[in-house]
Symmetry: C2
Subunit: 309 residues, 2 copies
């Protein structure tokens, strides 16, 4: 019988236990308070394993990440035998697509300007643009980026995507690699970041990149705060290169009350809520991977530790 | 040759002329400044015909309304031989669907609360709800309501609609008539008004109707200000029966700066911009109707003057 230890707040752990037991009634689920013999434990579930977990659980084989991003876990100097599994579930991408469609429509329909007009008690219309004439560009064409791109296409937005290696997404102009980044940026009115955070993509949204967008472009970050050089973004907003930014993620999180992002008129901020997996939706794929581990079969959705995602 | 007079601002009339001539090169387009012999004129295009137009243009047969709503034109005491044609075009419903999806996602994802948290510099998450557990109810299942319902279904919202007479919309629980209004309201978390404005629907959104929604429901009005008893809506917001309202329309328009709607923390306001037809998108169907008029065939998209829409 596989033993799995689950981290997180008690009510959250209870939801995970109930949902995992529905799929695997025999799974031996442990908690940090009652780990039993730590040498039994082969699986760990949580966003951030505790300090020194590798020494605590010498037979650990798999870490199941609770979020889509595995950058924090991969940054932990894992023992070589430990595999990291990303959560890929329908709820995760459905929630992210809701957030991306909401934020693209917010920018497309000039909602930040109407919010300012409401504050000023001014009835002031802005000429509308057809979605077909609005060019959205998605950085990152993994499961989340692809689902968001399809949803935006259904509104008739002109959508392109950029990824590290070549991709082919129906109805989406696909760019890849460093060489094609410039042409991708030059055709993008609304830039959406859904990249994984790796040493290569950390700080990718900097003054130089923002300057290659058309003047007055908008920016949405639903990936990681670490993708953005925040001072560069604020400078680009201040001088009008970027018209508005919608940020779900920041550095650090939570954002301290004195950080200038809070009060910047060009920034709409949400507290890292774009997309979270729920035990109800994610348990089936975790259970499937535990069955594969027990059968000695290859796991699904493994993070590639050398690429960092 | 049919003679049509077009009203509105000069640059707007120029766009209409160019687009209509692309479909009907021989159409005789007149302007209020140069109407020629007014007895020639059989068609009028505009949102609000001028005072006394019936006496001005004794042979008028058709008024083409620029917006989806024909309540203003039908309120004008038209001569019996004048037909009123609603604009039904893809752009009109595509823009309205963008607005409805934007506003439903805004409420579904708790954006008004996050906006307040940003103002207070507070990083405060709200547990998410799956779209499938969010019950949207659309008042009005015409072309606009049906298109919005389909788009919301693609996000997996649980969608119902209510209309005066029975309708059948795929994936949408359809209610109709006064008898079924109560059950429709009782199952609705987010109420969307897309009704035509008629003597029957004027003031329909009043204290009594709002009280029949579940406590803490939200309200979206993208139809007409006249549907809402504004004092009742504000009272329902103030005492918590309604959690938030997104209004694209008000009484009067433009809303005077001293009106309490502007500063109400529970109201998000846009200045009647949810949906407008453009000459580029609407000219084809107007041209088709002019051809039908010349051929003596029945016109499309006629407003029913007895029903008021």
């Amino acid at each position: 019988v596989t033993a799995l230890i689950v981290y997180g707040r008690p009510e959250w752990r209870a939801r995970w236990s109930a949902c995992l037991h529905a799929h695997l009634p025999d799974l031996d689920i442990r908690t940090p308070e009652n780990p039993g013999n730590p040498a039994d434990i082969t699986c760990l579930l949580g966003s951030i394993p505790p300090e020194g977990f590798a020494a605590l659980y010498p037979n650990l084989r798999v870490i199941f990440s609770e979020g889509a991003g595995v950058d924090i876990i991969l940054g932990l100097r894992l023992p070589p035998q430990v595999m990291v599994v990303r959560i890929v579930d329908d709820t995760l991408s459905a929630m992210m697509t809701e957030y991306i469609v909401w934020s693209v429509l917010t920018l497309h329909r000039n909602i930040p300007a109407y919010r300012a007009s409401q504050t000023a008690h001014q009835w002031q219309r802005i000429p509308a643009t057809l979605a077909a004439n609005r060019r959205v560009g998605i950085l990152g064409l993994g499961a989340l980026g692809t689902d968001a791109a399809h949803a935006l296409r259904r509104f008739d937005f002109t959508v392109a995507g950029w990824s590290r290696s070549p991709r082919d997404v129906d109805g989406v102009a696909c760019y890849h690699g460093a060489d094609m980044l410039d042409s991708f940026l030059a055709r993008t009115d609304i830039l959406v970041c859904l990249l994984p955070l790796t040493p290569e993509t950390r700080g990718i949204i900097d003054a130089e990149l923002l300057a290659r967008l058309p003047r007055g472009a908008a920016f949405i970050n639903a990936a990681r705060g670490g993708h953005v050089v925040q001072e560069d973004l604020i400078a680009a907003l201040d001088e009008g290169q970027i018209a508005h930014a919608i940020l779900d993620v920041t550095t650090p999180e939570p954002l301290p009350p004195e950080n200038p992002i809070w009060a910047h008129p060009g920034i709409t901020l949400t507290p890292h809520v774009a997309s979270i997996a729920t035990p109800e939706s994610a348990s089936a794929s975790i259970a499937e991977n535990i069955r594969r581990l027990e059968a000695g079969s290859p796991l699904l959705h493994l993070a590639d530790r050398s690429r960092g995602y």
